[in-house]
Structures are given as C-alpha cells and as structure tokens.
Amino acid sequence: MRLTLLLDMAADGFGDRVLAGRRSGGITAAELARRSHSGAALVRQRAADALVYLDVNGPAFPVALFAAARAGVPLVPLNYRLGRLQLDELLARHPKALGIAGPGALAHFERAGLTAITSDDWLEQTRADRGEISDPDQRSDAGRAAAPDDENPVAVVIYTSGTTSAPKGVLLRHENLVSYVLGSVEFASADETEAALVSVPPYHIAAVANVITNLYAGRRTLVLEAFTPGEWLRTVREEAVSSAMVVPTMLARIIDSEEDRSVPTLRSLSYGGAPMPAALIERALGEWTEVGFVNAYGLTETSSTVALLGPEDHRAALASSDPAIRARLSSVGRPLPGIELEIRGPGGEPLGPGQSGRICVRGGQVSAEYAGLGRAVDDQGFFDTRDDGFLDQEGYLFISGRTDDTIIRGAENIAPAEIEDVLLRHPAVLDAVVFGVPDQEWGQRIEAAVVPRPETNLDPADLREFTLQALRSSKTPDRFWLLRELPRTETGKLLRRMVPALIATDHSATDHSATDHSATPSARPAPSPRACGTTAAKARKPA
C-alpha cells in the first residue's frame, strides 16, 4: 500500500475539495493527484533516486511528497536553518537527488553538484500534464516476486536533530505512513468547511503526518510559514481555522500574547513535540473553553502519534477533585488502537500499572528504521523509545522524560521534567531547565537554569522555597542560574545537554547557589521573550 492510494481515493471521493492553501485558488484533491503524476515524471526524467526539499512549508511540500511517492523515491525534507557544513554533509548522502529549493537555497545544491529547481518553478512545472505514472500496487504477484525491493519503498527520510552525534536518517516506509493514516483517520470525515493550520516546519514528522491525515480526512490545510503569536491568531480568525497543531513553546507565546486571543471557529487544538507544562495547559483550558485539546505523544520513528489524550479527558481531568484523574492533565492519554505499548524494566521485563520503566511500542506505523543501520526492534518487534514513563490503572500513559536525561543523585533516579513542572508554576518564571552536574559527594547534583518573566523580580531564595514546598529537599536544585534564554530547537525541544556549556560561556548568567544569596537578579535587565522559530542556542548578553 502506497501513499498514492490515499491521494487517489481523495481525488476520487472529493476531487473538487480544496486541500491545500486558501479556499479560493488552493490546490484541490484532483489537482494534487494530477501534479503528483507530473512531478513524478520530472523525477524520472532526471533519474533522481530521492527528492530533497529545502524550503519552508507551503503548497510545494504536499506536491513534492506525493510526486516522490508516485515516482517510488523518498522525499527528504531538510532543515533550511542548518549551517552550511551540516547541509553539505546531509546532501552528500543523496548524490543522485533532485532538489527543490527555497529562496537562496539553490546555492547549497550547486555546491553539492545536485540539480535543483526553485519551489516556484516546481509548482509551475508540475502544472503541466506529463502523462500518468502507473500505480505500482497494481502489479501482479509475478511482478512483485521479480522486484521485491520496491514492494515497500521508503516514502520519507527525516533526519534527527543530532545534538550529540551525527544526524541519523529515520526511514519511514509507505506501509508505516499508510498504516498510521488508516489506523487513526476516517476517510472523508471532515466537513467541507474545516481547515487545519500547520505551524511546524516540513522536516518535522508532524508536518508529514499533517499532510497525509488531513488529506485522507478531506480537511483543507493552511500553512503559517513563520510563526508569530499575532499572525497565528489572525490567521485562525481570518481563515476560520477549525483545528491546529502547536508545540508547547508556541502555545505559551499565544497565551501570553497581548493581542486579541479570541478563536471563535477553533474546535480542536493538538499539541506535542515536547513536554507541556501543567500550568500552561490549565491556563489554555481556562482561556478557550470551547476548544477541544488533544495531547499527542509520538516520535519520528513511530510515524507521529502513538498515544493521545482527547478533549473529554482534558475537561474531565480539569473538573475532577480525584487526584488520580486530575493528574491525567499531565498524561499523554492512551495508545492508538493500532499500537501495542509496554513499560519495561531494566531487564526488558514488562512492568505493571504504576511502575516506571522504558516505553516500548509495536505496530504497523512503527518504522524504527535508520539509514545504514536497519531496524532497532527486539525479537518481538518492539521499539524502545528511550523515553521513561508509566501507565496508570486505566492505561493512561505518563512520560517522565528521556532516559538519557535522568539525573542520578545518590541512588535516586530523578526526572528533570518533574522539577521543571514545579518551577514553571512560579509566576515569575518564563522558562526552566533542570540538569545533572557531576558531584564528588552525590555522583550528580541537581542544578536549574530559569528565565525570569519580563517585568518581574525573580528572587531565587523565594523560588527555592517554592520548590521545597512542592518537592522533597533531595529534588530541590542545589543551584539556580538565571539566563535570558534557554537553548531549544525551533520546534521547542529543549537542548538540555547544551545548558551547562551555555552557562559556562555566558558571562551574564548569574549564579544563586544555596549558600550564596548575595547576587541580585534585579540588577539584570529584563530579558527579551524567547524567540520561537529560531534555534535559540545562544543566550543573549545584556545590552
């Protein structure tokens, strides 16, 4: 089963419906199908074995995704913000690719010796009729046996951010993506008036999933090329957006925005990609009482969502006085029907409810496959997510954090996320990170870096007291650093391991250790709000 099957069904079932772009002048299902044939012919003319997409999200992206699918070559969306050396290294892995380039990106392809056309040219050229490419799913059994390699080709390659090592290419095969769509979306289930707003970049799994799930549901998608809270809010109102997906940092900036925050047509807001602070989701639920919130947990390796917390779960948790139900506001809900999920102990043994361990998943949508490395699954086909978590009595999944981020203080395993959640509840804290630092006595000690909210006077002694009231002293950071900004990827993932180096090189970072309260945070200028949509890898110095 190929992605083009989904597109052909859409073209057949609701061909006139606009699926990408503005309601007038957008691309219909039938047009997307035609363009996919034309684009596939272009790929074949150049004998390309991959289609590399190096631009912001836009109408050229779904056309590229389905043209690649039709041609039987992978789409490789690359991060246009990467440095020249990193891009050169990734492009060298696709020496026979055809490139689609955003403004200024053609030079990258030239350097790599690759043929490329601009996104505008791609949209112009795929308008032309170049005949139909036959559907490989229509081959006979004899044809399949003769060429088993293209039975289930790679549809998309997504490179991991690779903060500690060279980026790995995650291979998502047609079967994985089709399995995800068929397992989680009902065909043509969207009303013609619905519109989904996309604010994630095209090299993120959510952007790929967004294209194929909305296509199958028959829902129009709109793209916000560069996220700002004001632009997001205006687009929701002007385009009567009914559903949207954001990462937590975006939601924080929207909720903090001084602009008109009314979203009269919005019915569904999903979030994921990074942990959502409990204080933030509570605020959002209070602000937008008509919106159904969806918390989605998934990885690139699992073709997006494997578990979700739906709108009713959110409202039930918010209204409940039962601590176990209330706690579910911080859970990622229950696994999708097509996913088997197990919590496993250190020896790989399955654990029961309430017991914390490694989250492992199995299912048709789970690729767990890396370029040059093969599939990372055990004998039973389970993929270890390297996330720690537990299931409650009713099967709701709680994520404690990345296994690699766990702080071991004395003999105690401490998940930074739990402490960060407390820090983020303090009214003067805008952002917070907790990390382990080598310590002679404890093995590791806990330190925290916080970004004060603008126009506030954050007293670290007060923050320490605040933390102590919520957590045991063994979980209270030994030292607080004040920073102007935390290093995050542009999709809001915290680059935790970069924080100690950042503090060491940032002379403006102020230290507030347990024994030294002499430094005054008020002497520091108010920090500028974190820039979302940029890789905020460097703390800014005071002006």
Binding site: M9, D137, R139, E175, S184, V185, F187, A188, P337
Partner: protein, 103 residues
C-alpha cells in the same frame, strides 16, 4: 475459486467499479465476491460479468467492510453498485471509531 488473502492486497470487481484493499487477512482461503461474482487481483484479466440482482447494495469509498466472524477486513478504495461478500456471506460496514485529529 478460493484464494489466500494477504494484507495490502488489492482486489477489483468484475461487475462494477468497486475496488478494495485487504486490511486484515483471514487465516483461511476464501472467495471474495462483489455483486455475486469473484473479485480479481490486479493484472489478472477481468472478464466483465453481470451481477446477481439480489446483491446490489453498493459499496462506499473509504468504508471498511468486515464479515460477521470478523476474520476479514477490507477497505473500499473505489465505490460501486455490488454487495461485497466472503464465501457467500455479505460483509457489513464497520462502524467508525473516530479519533481526534492530532497532527
């Protein structure tokens, strides 16, 4: 003629435009019919045939069809006039269990 089904397999109708894809394959061999006439695998020569007039309930694109014992599940990828049946027993539309959009 009974065949062994395989998940991902496409089958086309001999009596109308119906096409399905096998989502869940039964362990046993069987005969899938549309309008009373056996469906064919792609590339197999399809001899157009007249449907059984009593088996014209129609198929709907995007719907999943299952048998009573829940051994087979097919997804209709092209709609038509005929009724789907496995070994003579009509398939039913499986009720949708919608999930909220998460992407």
């Amino acid at each position: 003629m009974a065949v062994k089904f395989r998940a991902g397999q496409q089958l086309v109708s001999a009596v109308d435009s119906t096409a399905v894809i096998v989502i869940r394959a039964p362990a046993q061999e069987g005969t899938l019919t549309c309008g009373g006439v056996a469906m064919a695998v792609p590339d197999q020569a399809v001899t157009p045939a007249a449907p059984d007039p009593s088996q014209l309930d129609g198929t709907q694109i995007g719907k999943r069809y299952v048998d009573e014992a829940d051994t087979i599940q097919v997804l209709c990828t092209k709609a038509g006039r005929g009724t789907l049946a496995l070994d003579g027993k009509p398939l039913q539309i499986q009720a949708a269990k919608p999930l909220p959009a998460s992407d």
